[in-house]
């Protein structure tokens, strides 16, 4: 029980939080709703009085002041010849009621939309600030669902279901109060139906919900068959299995249809029994009302009033049962959204430093790993500003992680023995994250470009950059001429709705984007591998000319790239196995020199393959 209470309290607090700033919509909605409901009950009254006292012969059953006013006008006879006044009154009341109704609807919509906006904003902004480790652990589809359908459910609950329930209860209370004031016996008889209808709608709906779920699952299966067939069309054709696929689909289709038909039959019972109950109420009203009228306890006008009230309540009562059942879904959605919001974000601290970065980088005894695996072991090295470091390593040697630590995508905890990284002598943990990242231009291994123009993609990290800067960057990255070949040049849209770039092109755009940042530290995480050898060397020579003062770190496996660096590091299973200049490492006769010798190995191989018959 306790857990449930805590959850309920948590849910309530959550709703209070998001309602902040939006209360005005809620109150307008409630007040206009109350006014509209009250007004809507006046029309039947007017009709009743008209029928009884104007058309009929009874005395006016009105409050004294009103009765006097009517008498002043000329009483019954006047009204009889000017019946349109009554009609007009009914109409006027309806118009007022409608106006309030509109404001109620609209303020409800405003509440829903403002809540949606707020929730979406909260979620989006928070997600952007969550640490990289969270992003790696989630499934995009799951998060998307929470940000869309769960948000909808919560907003629907507050602005729709909740206000609906309040309105319907309000209507019921007022209607029955009025009915009781007219005739207790008949009102009691009608009252009996209320719990029946509500309970019936709620209970039945629960049963049907289960059927809906089964039908949903069958649809999921049919969807899977179709999707497998369309994406695997080559296999289906190549093996000539069209007949079998068709049979499989027809079977799934039939299963789906049958389940829905069964649900439909249940729905048929649901609606007809519901109709039966409503019709019984109307019949009972009419018959009992007639009896009472004949015995002089009621007037015909009053029966009509009763009938009108009863009619106004029929649908809302059935809705109430169903709405009450659906409201529990909101709790689940709130939980799912809270899960995201409660994760700790990357914080900016007040003690953060914003030093000017020159580019001296030092790794001191860095050891780092993930849940069950150590990735880096005791890595220490130093890189002076303006120098280039090339890193060579096999898959899983820890190269990328080395770079991710520099960027604070992961943080090192010195107290846990993970070591530290300093830039210009300052520990990076003390430097403001965004400031640090702005000063380190990193090109990732798999470049990600946004669905936007090439120009906007390039300017993303440096919105104030100049045209010249952009073109100089794209020239260095050997992509300028390719961009000009596109129909709209720099304004070409890329991504799903636009042009698809090849792997090499994307890589070069990403490199240009990094260059535009004009940062003191430049990092390439194996970014030149998608580009062919010629372009690679062209880019690097251009880079050399450009970036004399930039500290550069390149991960690569191409000897030509490695050779040029001021320092070369060979990383193996998380440890630095060799470090030095090209000539130093060749002398070591270790991994580096073996790799360097591959070239001559290749020439040997060629000779055996081809040489025998003369080249």
């Amino acid at each position: 029980m306790k857990n449930k209470d805590i959850k309920k309290r948590g849910n309530f607090a959550f709703i209070m939080k998001i309602m902040r700033g939006n209360w005005r919509f809620f109150w307008v909605c409630v007040v206009t709703m109350a006014l509209s409901v009250c007004l809507s009950y006046i029309s039947p009254k007017i009709v009743g009085v008209t029928i009884d006292s104007v058309i009929g012969q009874m005395d006016f059953n009105l409050p004294q002041k009103l009765a006097d006013y009517v008498a002043q006008l000329g009483g019954r006879d006047f009204l009889l010849t000017h019946l349109f006044i009554c009609g007009l009154l009914v109409f006027a009341v309806a118009v007022f009621s409608a106006v309030f109704n509109y404001f109620r609807n609209y303020s409800g919509a405003q509440l829903a939309q403002h809540l949606s906006y707020k929730l979406r904003k909260m979620l989006f902004d928070h997600i952007q600030r969550l640490p990289f480790s969270w992003h790696k652990s989630i499934q995009t589809g799951d998060i998307m669902q929470r940000c869309s359908s769960d948000v909808d459910t919560v907003c629907n609950f507050v602005s729709g279901q909740f206000t609906d329930v309040v309105r319907i209860i309000f209507m019921l209370v007022i209607a029955y109060t009025l009915m009781f004031s007219i005739n207790t016996k008949l009102a009691l008889a009608c009252l009996v139906f209320v719990p029946i209808v509500i309970g019936y709608s709620g209970g039945f709906y629960g049963k049907i919900a289960k059927r809906f779920q089964l039908a949903d699952e069958a649809e999921g299966r049919m969807h899977a068959i179709a999707q497998e067939n369309f994406t695997g069309v080559r296999v289906v054709r190549a093996f000539g299995r069209e007949r079998q696929e068709l049979d499989r689909f027809k079977a799934g289709n039939a299963e789906f249809a049958d389940l829905w038909i069964k649900t439909g039959e249940l729905l048929g019972w649901y609606w007809s029994i519901g109709d039966l109950i409503s019709a019984s109420q109307t019949a009972m009203l009419l018959i009992y009302g007639t009896l009472l009228t004949v015995h002089g306890e009621m007037s015909p006008g009053e029966i009509i009033v009763f009938a009108m009230y009863g009619g106004m309540l029929a649908w809302p009562m059935r809705r109430l049962g169903r709405t009450l059942g659906e409201m529990s879904k909101a709790g689940v959605s709130i939980g799912r959204i809270s899960e995201i919001l409660s994760v700790k974000a990357e914080q900016d601290n007040d003690t953060d430093l914003f030093p000017e970065i020159k580019g001296d980088i030092k790794y001191e005894h860095v050891s780092f790993g993930f849940e069950n695996a150590e990735v880096l072991r005791d890595v220490s090295f130093e890189l002076k500003a303006g120098q280039t470091l090339a890193i060579l390593g096999g898959t899983g040697s820890g190269k990328s992680t080395l770079l991710h630590l520099l960027n604070r995508l992961y943080d090192l905890d010195e107290e846990k023995g993970q070591g530290k990284i300093t830039i210009d002598g300052t520990e990076i943990n003390k430097i403001n994250r965004r400031h640090l990242r702005r000063n380190i231009a990193m090109v990732l291994q798999e470049p990600f470009l946004f669905s936007d123009t090439i120009d906007n993609n390039l300017k993303l990290a440096a919105p104030d950059t100049t045209r010249d800067m952009i073109e100089s960057a794209t020239c260095t990255a050997e992509i300028h001429s390719s961009i000009l070949e596109f129909p709209e040049g720099y304004e070409t849209l890329i991504g799903e709705k636009g042009v698809t770039l090849s792997g090499g092109q994307r890589q070069r755009v990403a490199i240009a984007r990094a260059l535009v940042e004009d940062a003191p530290v430049l990092v390439f995480d194996d970014s030149l591998s998608a580009v062919d050898v010629e372009t690679d060397s062209k880019i690097r020579s251009a880079l050399k000319r450009r970036t004399k003062d930039t500290t550069t770190i390149i991960i690569s496996h191409r000897i030509s790239t490695l050779m040029d660096a001021d320092q070369i590091m060979v990383l193996s299973e998380g440890k630095i196995s060799e470090m030095g200049t090209h000539t130093e490492l060749l002398k070591l006769n270790g991994i580096y020199s073996s790799i360097f010798n591959i070239q001559s190995m290749f020439e040997e191989e060629m000779e055996t393959e081809v040489g025998a018959n003369g080249v």
Binding site: I51, A109, R234, D275, L286
Partner: protein, 615 residues
């Protein structure tokens, strides 16, 4: 390879301009197939409408005879009759819903089967240019909506029109002057409803379009989290999202504002009718039957507005769904690019009913005779007067970088596409003189991504040949070196592969797909980048398998790992869809051209990998 997809064709939020009956006429045929539900539905609808229109007469009778006459004599018969009327209503509802549901789902089912069957006949080029999502929407979602529309829409409209006709007739009989007045208001109501609904529809589409933008933005910014953090552009990304978020709120409110006005207006219109009725009440003042007639008119006034808005709902829904009807019609009409001539179908059967008795055995000689070819959506000839003779049993390798169009030759050989000019001969006969299925049943195909279907391992292997015995399946698994790991699984060959093959590693799945191809005992074997998505260990295993499997079969190997194709009888190097070099491995190396460059690069990578693996 394919040119840009014209986005407009796949815009999910397009609206038709006007009503085209001929598109809907084709849908009516589907309705006609289910007369046993359609006819009772229509009859029952009209009867219930009639009873619904007559129910107020009970009130009239009650008022005139019992209240007016101040007697309750004969009330038992009255109650009985009323009960019977209610029973008819309730039974009517049950029949209505049952038949509607059946009609809805059966029509939907037929539509789905028709679409799916058509797609099985479609050629590959169709799937290359049509997104899978589009197809799924048409086959699953549109058919569902259309089924609903054709069944419920029709039934509702028949009920509404019948009800309105019966009410009108009834009103005219009782008091034609009043009836006329009511008619005027009704027509006005219809016009207003129509105008509003059309606009609401348009605004709703806008909202859905914006929602798609919102979802896409959310999706992109979660997927690209690493890049966003690295570039430190969280703020700008949040800012861009906020713009879309606000747009969503604004557009939603605009749509809701219109809808908020709609409902009150409907109520006001209904009350207008009521007011009109009341105002003319003086005509009933002295009439002994007057009160009863008045009651009837009041009942009609209250209940007649909703049907009016239902009609306009229906008209607007027709417009809304028309786009989907057009799309489904086009899907069903689309002629496949590659199909057999009628004489061929006569002799060899078609894909659903093959006539295997007439099939000649295949040896496997393939000849490209003066073949010119361009892709249907391409604007350049990919092959031009191309000639190549392949003897049965030889191995042809096709190499090149990723995505350069290596599959063209295979596509032509397997008759997934047909030459624009020239012919492809199998065993000396143009393959268009034999059926498509004849060729496909002799092809074993292994793709880059092992495409398994949900089911057991045994079912997946059997997919290649439904008549295969268990021994044949195990034999094929042994040849594919898959038997060992399958036997180690808990359920062995009956193990579930999981949706899309989730429960096995990629390497294991690939071995199973090789077994699937082997079981066909094909004369022509195609390995389409079969090893590019597996790890090195599995790749070596598969290479071993391949050499055994390909003995005595004509084979095509598409690869970009050269170690697997060194021993092919002929190697074709492809770039940008065109064959730029051909020869044996030795000949090509001697040329020192692109093949040589590719080979040296791969050699380097492989050796590097080995060096790192050693440490």
């Amino acid at each position: 390879m394919a040119s840009e997809i014209n986005q407009n064709n796949f815009d999910e939020y397009a609206l038709s301009n006007k009503f085209e009956f001929k598109e809907w006429k084709r849908m009516l045929v589907f309705l006609g197939n289910h007369k046993r539900y359609l006819i009772p539905l229509l009859i029952c609808t009209m009867i219930t409408a009639c009873v619904d229109a007559l129910i107020p007469y009970f009130s009239r009778y009650a008022f005139n005879n019992f209240v007016g006459g101040n007697t309750t004599q004969g009330i038992q018969w009255f109650i009985l009759l009323y009960a019977i009327a209610i029973l008819i209503q309730v039974t009517g509802t049950i029949i209505f819903i049952r038949n509607s549901m059946n009609l809805d789902l059966r029509v939907g089912k037929d539509l789905r089967n028709a679409c799916f069957e058509k797609l099985q006949r479609q050629s590959l080029s169709y799937f290359n240019v049509t997104p899978v999502g589009y197809l799924l929407s048409r086959v699953l979602n549109d058919t569902f909506s259309l089924g609903g529309m054709l069944a419920w829409g029709l039934a509702d409209t028949v009920w509404t029109v019948s009800y309105l006709i019966f009410c009108s007739v009834s009103m005219f009989i009782l008091n034609w002057k009043l009836a006329l007045l009511v008619m005027v208001v009704l027509v006005g109501a219809l016009v207003i409803c129509q105008l509003m609904e059309k606009n609401i529809l348009r605004l709703n589409r806008e909202v859905r379009r914006t929602n798609a933008k919102l979802t896409a933005s959310f999706n992109e910014d979660i997927t690209g989290a690493k890049t966003i953090k690295t570039l430190a552009v969280e703020d700008s990304v949040c800012h861009s999202f906020d713009k879309i978020n606000v747009e969503m709120r604004t557009k939603s409110l605009r749509a809701r504002r219109l809808r908020s006005v709609f409902q009150p207006i409907i109520l006001v219109l209904g009350t207008m009718i009521l007011a009109v009725v009341i105002s003319s009440g003086s005509g009933f003042a002295g009439d002994p039957e007057g009160l009863g007639t008045l009651a009837v008119f009041i009942a009609y006034a209250l209940s007649i507005i909703d049907p009016i808005s239902n009609i306009t709902d229906f008209a607007v829904d027709l417009i809304a769904l028309q786009v989907n009807v057009e799309r489904i019609n086009r899907l069903i009409d689309a002629e496949p690019l590659v199909k057999d001539r009628p004489e061929i179908v006569e002799k060899y059967g078609d894909i659903f009913e093959p006539k295997r008795e007439n099939w000649e055995p295949i040896k496997g000689d393939i000849e490209f005779d003066d073949v010119t070819f361009r892709y249907p959506d391409g604007n350049v000839d990919v092959l031009s007067h191309f000639n190549l003779k392949i003897k049965s049993g030889s191995c042809i390798a096709i190499v090149g970088e990723t995505g350069v169009g290596k599959s063209t030759l295979v596509n032509l050989a397997c008759r997934f596409f047909e030459p624009t000019e020239g012919q492809v001969l199998i065993d000396g006969v143009d393959y268009r003189e034999r059926s498509i299925n004849w060729l496909h049943s002799s092809i074993g195909y292994v793709l880059q991504q092992p495409h398994l279907f949900s089911g057991t391992i045994k079912e997946n292997i059997r997919y290649g040949n439904p008549d295969a015995t268990d021994e044949e399946i195990i034999e094929a698994a042994k040849v594919a070196c898959a038997h060992e790991f399958i036997s180690k699984l808990k359920d062995g060959y009956d193990s579930n592969v999981g949706e899309g093959g989730d429960l096995l590693s990629t390497g294991q799945k690939q071995l199973i797909s090789i077994a699937r191809a082997v079981v066909v005992n094909p004369r022509i074997f195609v390995l389409d980048e079969a090893t590019s998505s597996v790890d090195t260990e599995t790749e070596q295993l598969i290479s071993k398998v391949i050499s055994t499997v390909l003995e005595n079969r004509t084979s095509f190997i598409i690869a970009h790992r050269l170690s697997t194709i060194k021993h092919a009888d002929l190697i074709l190097m492809v770039d940008d869809g065109k064959i730029i070099e051909q020869g044996t491995h030795r000949q090509l190396l001697r040329k020192k051209g692109r093949y040589y460059a590719l080979y040296s690069r791969q050699f380097e990578n492989e050796e590097q990998g080995k060096i790192f693996a050693r440490t």
